[in-house]
Amino acid sequence: MITLNLNGKDHQLEVPEDMPLLWALRDVAGLTGTKFGCGMGQCGSCTLHLDGKAVRACLTPVGQAVGKRVTTIEGVDQDPVGKLVQQAWREHAVAQCGYCQGGQIMAATAMLKENRNPDDGQIKAAMVGNICRCGTYTRIRTAIASAAGKLQEGQA
């Protein structure tokens, strides 16, 4: 039995320590907002936060998450920066199919928590690992810039 802190609450999961966090969340804990896209850290659809840092759930064994705070897309609105990013995504109607957008929002939120005023190069560097097959990148950049603007205004 493994205890994980998921979105602020402790959960007991009966999973082996080497199971990727992705499958433990999806198949066992029932948190399906974290998506499977590639299984090898190439696409970023499964991006979540471990102690506030963006990681790929498909490459993170459950054991590595023990004793850390796991934040998924379902819980990121508890973070004021996360909530602001979600709002920016809606304002700019970023999503198309939406499948990758949870991962995109998690990557953008982690970046903005570290750097509240990223330039274009820093945005690209933080987001290059997250694929959107619908190609919403131009709106993602706009939404991040708009969220960053609100952070400058002290909205979070």
Partner: protein, 776 residues
Amino acid sequence: MSQREHNAGEPADLVVANLSRRGFLKGLAATGALVIAANWGMPSAFAAGKKTAFVADALPHGWVDNPKVLLSIAKDGVVTFVCTRAEMGQGVRTSLAMVVADELEAEWAMMRVVQAPGDEARFGNQDTTGSRSMRHWYAPLRRCGAAARQMLEQAAAAQWQVPLGECQAQGHKVLHVPSGRSLGYGELAEAAAALEVPPRDQLRLKKAEEFRYIGKEAKRAVDDDDIVHGRAIYGADLRFPDMLYAVIARPPVYGGTLKSYDASATMQVPGVLRVVEIAATPIPSGFQPLGGIAVVAGNTWAAIKGREALQLEWEHGANAAYHSPAYRKALIEAVRQPGKRLRNVGNIDAAQMQATKTLEATYYLPHLAQAPMEPPVATALFKDGACELWAPSQSPQLAREQVAKRLDLPLDKVTVNVTLLGGGYGRKSPPDFILEAALLARELPGRHVRVQWTREDDLQHAYFHAVSAQYLRGALDDKGVPSAWLHRSAAPSMAAPFGPDSRHLQQFELGMGLLGMPSRLRNLRQENPEAAAHTRIGWYRSALNMPHAFAIQSFIAELATAAGRDHRDFLLELIGAPRKIDPELLGDTTNYGESPSQYPLDTGRLRAVVEEATKQAGWGQQLPPGRGLGLAVHYSFVSYVAVVLDVEVRTDGVLVVNKATMAVDCGPVVNPDRVRAQMESACVMGLGNATLSEITFREGQVEQSNLHNYQVARMPLAPREIAVHLIRPEGETALGGASEPGVPPIAPALCNAIFAATGKRIRELPIRNQLMDWKV
């Protein structure tokens, strides 16, 4: 009752049928109103042309405009719209609901959308492909909303006992104009539901100036809140108690079979429960699963580990000889020889003899895989002689028919529920992955079984976009005017997985940008040399339009350069004066299934998008070396799109697309923001296709395994700005497609821009490192 059972010419009378409330109504039972089942007869088809019916009328089961099928209004006034088309990012759940809501005079905040299961007899055609949801459903859904609005007005008039003419629906209530009294839609719903649906000729449709939602700028999206909170339900997000998880080891070569296997190590993997063999389907396999060994486990990871532990020996079969470099060579050889003649106008040979200049070029594009971010996935439950499925399907009705056939069940014992699609692009139209789930569920009755494809499975067993080669030869007369044009196009056909391989493209494939080319050319020949299929060929967003637009739009630019002319001017002259052409006169008998009288090829609209895109992009401006503008235009899915890309090629070969300017005429627009979003999407996907993506085969097997070696567009490739200019045509124009027509002009515009920037002409895609040797 099937709509097909009615004669096409019958008057539009209401036929009451005893349809069940199963499926989408499960969650709506409490809402009650407007759910008496009924159905319309088929409409009379467009009379023009040789054909008597065109899509949507010619599609299986046509369309439905009956509010009693598609709408329900609850006592609290909430309107639930049943969306019959699959949502995969094109925004169809929002845009179709906007059409209904507008005619219904409903408040947007009161609209809810539920997804219809696969059932065409009830819901009309559900095949969400070919960029046709809006153009086929706009008119029926306007009628649907208007009919419901009039029923609500009738119900109010009856309740107040006043003349109907004094009652007016407005903002989710019906107003009695003389007295100022009003009743909300929720209060009227039950009485309205008991009324007959008004006949179509008595419907009062809104005038365009009365629209509240249609064509208006707003960022509406019914699923956005769920998406940003991780609550939206895609194929793998439904959870059932005691669900089983399966992955399948499939034959690595198309047509291969299993020789032997040993699953003893697999059965040692904790969590693995069973191994099930699925019989291989002989070639051509159609929509059937490829066969293989399924590993069934208590969670996905155990199933994946179990599959890794399988010992498998395959009999690869004849396609083991499929080798991309050799095939490429043969395909290019094929287009350098005459092929099956499609169209011949004038005398290209004589024109060439008299030409001042001749030019020839060969273009090659590789196989592509759709690679939706959500790999194929499906869940099935087989119980008590019935099969229920849940899948991200572009064609749930097809999945239902195929499952019924394969499991030998009556159609009404099969239910296919549709989740959101995490991208489709054509891949989720063939139901092979849904059939796999059905077959496994039959082996494991009473348990929900999910078949999860990994990314490796997705890239190795797609229905691939066809590899293609094209040869073009052109002549210029002494004035630099094109006097002859030869175009040969060869590619394996999408029809090949479904029957004996004719080695020729089908008429609908030739109609995607090859035939139907409007021009002033007096001497023209189009040919289709042979190309055999050695893998499953399928639909990839815009399909054969990609190679055809690439070759034609690149070659026109090459001819312009040879003639010493400005590309835009040369292109406009080649298109010629504004005129409306019956595509059949240009050899295109398909025209995306649309009536040539309702959808003539309009060179005025084609010219207009070129003029608008170039004007907006500042065509003709002087740019430093290494930077250039590139133009391309293409007609597809009865829409017109021109693109100008502003491109920079750095001395290290790095390509940067600064800006994309797109001019789009897809007829009247329902949801402008989503049309723009589709164009942005098409632009980025088109850039990924052109620069990065390639599927190759070696010994019959796909060489790419995941997204590290099958590359697609990432953020740095996306233009900083994509400006989409929507041209609203004058007068009575029919709606065109929006999801696909943006893709075809991107690659040629990019290569034309690269030529303008560097002088280097690219004729083979993907570009990948072809710019590495470029020096300022």
